[in-house]
């Protein structure tokens, strides 16, 4: 897909004092920062936006000198700005890190192929090495095939589980132990809200961490945009004329997340600081100790149950998993069953529902 930069406006009007930037007091303010309602000009916006991300990186000790870092690049606005900024800040502040672009091809025709074309253009523009790993190579399934057998409703579940693992595996193959992703403040607040609304207490505590990694995993994930507003990321890309891809995925977005996002956007319109406020609430939330919460439960035959320890490995693929078999392998197993029945009994497709039911009966955990 071709890309044309946004048009530069030509209308220049005389300025009123009240229109001036509140930082430099000499240029026209173009944005009102959602974080603190400060009016700033383009140049000051670039400076404060970049510096805040640098501060987030330094205060949280995200990078070690000499480290190899993979940027999860989808071609979308967040990851495009992330690639650009990682390169810029690494040069400006001399973090001494080697940056790689890491993309996952889920195999969604008309969506991911176009977005990967954007990543390839970015790779040339920024001169960074790029590696693409595909669902086809890693799992022998593409998302298009998965949706064909599993239906459109579950597409995000499969895609999410597989992509998370694919990023780790891709990084491991490149000998990289650190993946940075473009998750921004809006995403994080949205996740906190979703976990609260679902009562998912176990995830709630972890959902605001800037560095995440499963115990024993060699690969850590960090989110330098944790405190960056979506709006500012989009404006940064707009003013810098960065080339990003912005088409909605062909498959239905996760309904619950979509609703949570809408709620967040409406809240933001009334009170822009609420996004950061929700993250702060999430960060300061401390849950009671597990033993205490389950103290009243009668003791079960815990000796016969396998102990779920962080750092366990999946019996099939050797990927980290808290269960005997990891989520990706469980999903794959389900998919393989459907594929077999589809190919053998494609001529009796009218009995599909009954066949699925029989398959379901055979399922065991």
């Amino acid at each position: 897909m071709s890309w044309a930069p946004p048009t530069d406006p030509v209308n220049k009007k005389p300025l009123k004092v009240s229109q001036l930037c509140e930082i430099c007091h000499c240029r026209k303010a173009v944005i009102k920062r959602p974080k603190n309602l400060q009016k700033v000009c383009k140049e000051c916006f670039f400076y404060v936006f970049e510096t805040e991300i640098h501060n987030t990186i330094v205060n949280n000790n995200l990078f070690q000198r000499g480290e190899k870092v993979a940027v999860g690049a989808s071609g979308g606005k967040d990851s495009t700005v992330l690639c650009y900024l990682m390169k810029l800040l690494n040069e400006r502040y001399d973090y001494g890190i080697d940056i790689y672009l890491l993309s996952i091809d889920e195999g969604i025709v008309g969506y991911r192929d176009d977005s990967l074309a954007t990543v390839m253009r970015n790779q040339k523009q920024y001169g960074l090495p790029l590696e693409i790993f595909s669902f086809r190579d890693l799992y022998n399934w593409t998302m298009d095939e998965i949706v064909a057998v599993a239906g459109i409703r579950n597409s995000c579940t499969y895609c999410g589980v597989f992509r998370r693992q694919a990023l780790d595996r891709g990084a491991q193959k490149l000998g990289i132990n650190h993946v940075v992703t473009g998750h921004n403040a809006d995403d994080m607040a949205e996740t906190v809200l979703m976990n609260i609304l679902r009562g998912d207490v176990a995830r709630l505590e972890k959902s605001t961490a800037i560095v995440t990694s499963s115990g024993g995993s060699p690969i850590k994930r960090t989110k330098p945009f944790k405190y960056s507003y979506q709006k500012e990321i989009v404006l940064y890309a707009h003013y810098k004329k960065l080339d990003y891809f912005s088409t909605e995925c062909t498959y239905a977005p996760e309904a619950f997340r979509g609703t949570a996002r809408e709620l967040m956007k409406n809240l933001e319109a009334v009170r822009p600081s609420c996004i950061i406020d929700i993250i702060r609430s999430g960060e300061n939330l401390v849950l009671k100790e597990k033993e205490q919460r389950f103290a009243k439960k009668p003791a079960t035959s815990s000796s016969s149950k396998p102990q779920f320890v962080d750092g366990n490995r999946c019996e099939r693929c050797n990927y980290l998993s808290s269960n005997k078999i990891c989520k990706a392998c469980m999903l794959l197993e389900g998919l393989e069953k459907t594929r077999a029945s589809v190919t053998i009994e494609s001529d009796v497709s009218s009995h599909g529902a009954a066949k699925t039911l029989r398959n379901l009966e055979k399922l065991s955990f």
Partner: protein, 98 residues
């Protein structure tokens, strides 16, 4: 009459036949941004179902960034802004996948 350039960015072009940049002659005296938005809803958005992608409660839907000559519309009087010849108005969706 006023002549402006309107851009639909960040994936929002789906509501206007996937054309990102439009040159528009608005046949209204002292036209404001509200007149432009009405024009977009009545004459540019082909599928009536797409209007709610763009508009919510008679204003631009939260999550769409409106820029008037690259300046956030909040700083320019929002819907009451009086259009001038040569203005560039851009609507950028932040709701589309990142």
């Amino acid at each position: 009459m006023v002549k402006v350039k309107v851009e639909f960015l960040g994936g929002l072009d789906v509501v206007v036949n996937k054309v990102r940049v439009h040159d528009i002659n608005l046949m209204v005296d002292n036209a404001t941004l509200r007149d432009l938005v009405n024009y977009i809803c009545n004459d540019m958005i082909t599928n009536p179902n797409d209007i709610e992608v763009f508009i919510e409660d008679e204003s631009i839907r939260p999550g769409i960034i409106t820029l008037i000559n690259d300046t956030d519309w909040e700083l320019e009087g929002e819907m009451e802004y009086e259009l001038e010849d040569g203005d560039v108005i851009s609507f950028t969706s932040t709701l589309h996948g990142g």
